[in-house]
Symmetry: C2
Subunit: 181 residues, 2 copies
């Protein structure tokens, strides 16, 4: 295969959205919307988010060429007390992610909250890198979530940190349906 | 009107996405997708972005309850050489924004790249704040773009800075259709 520039430019990158601020998952959703508008096909797997009533899940059902796969157990993972079934659920999600990524069906593939799963050692960053290395070359990949491990920050082509500068939690405002979830 | 908690919690906030990293406009688009999925209605005005072939514009036409209004002139604004018609175009966009915001048609209203327009003094931050102050109380507002002025950072309820940690420009990769635009 020749490394001609027009092909090289179409090779998919690995993007990371991490940090303690808002906008990581939503930036990935926005990329999805833009990609769909340009006729691309989008797959998204959510680690540790089993909910099928989120705004993004509901609308994914209405959008052609957008597959969203929520994965995980119904309880929140406690990083101070990781259970065997948390690890099993994350490993299963990674196995589904690999299958989706290798299917050739997606131009853009998002692994939502996978950084947290790696940061909390539910899955191994080196294994994720091996999986990404073997993917179809044109697939753009987005990894979201806090705690992206150093190996992933080093491996990614593009890293953005979302930094919380000001947050309204201190005004007593909780998560609002349709905005935060 | 009683300030009962359930009503108070539904009052719209002002969110700012700023900084030099990726994901500001896309986070706003992702919020839109999520809000639409939850049955909310979304309006978005784009300052200094007249393009009607962007991924987000194309898909907005296919989504019910999502109005996207690109505004601005066909040339890029040069911050070192601001033209009178750049100022006129930004002021016109602000006037359209105000009309949309006050229409009562939107639960979520996004002013895309307005921070840049304020940062470059095309429009006045204090005027934007006066407009936001008078809006219907339930409208969640998102202001995106680099260079958010201090008055806006102080006024907003929630501010996230997108920081570029690593970017592939140095690999010679330019803007890619469907991903960046």
């Amino acid at each position: 295969m020749t490394a001609d520039k027009s092909i090289k430019e179409r090779l998919g990158l690995v993007q990371v959205y991490t940090g303690n601020g808002k906008g990581k998952t939503t930036a990935a959703l926005g990329l999805s919307l833009r990609a769909l508008g340009s006729g691309l096909s989008v797959g998204m797997i959510q680690f540790m988010k089993p909910e099928r009533d989120s705004g993004e899940y509901v609308i994914s059902k209405r959008l052609e060429n957008f597959t969203l796969m929520p994965c995980g157990l119904s309880h929140l993972v406690d990083p101070e007390n990781i259970k065997q079934n948390d690890i099993a659920a994350a490993r299963e999600a990674l196995s589904i992610a690999k299958e989706m990524l290798y299917s050739g069906r997606y131009d853009l593939f998002i692994m939502d909250e996978i950084n947290v799963a790696m940061g909390w050692k539910l899955i191994d960053a080196d294994e994720v890198i091996r999986i990404l290395n073997e993917r179809p070359a044109n697939v753009e990949v987005v990894l979201t979530g806090r705690y992206a491990p150093d190996e992933i920050m080093g491996y990614a082509d593009l890293v953005t940190e979302m930094r919380m500068i000001k947050h309204p939690y201190d005004k007593g405002i909780g998560s609002r349906k349709g905005i935060e979830s």
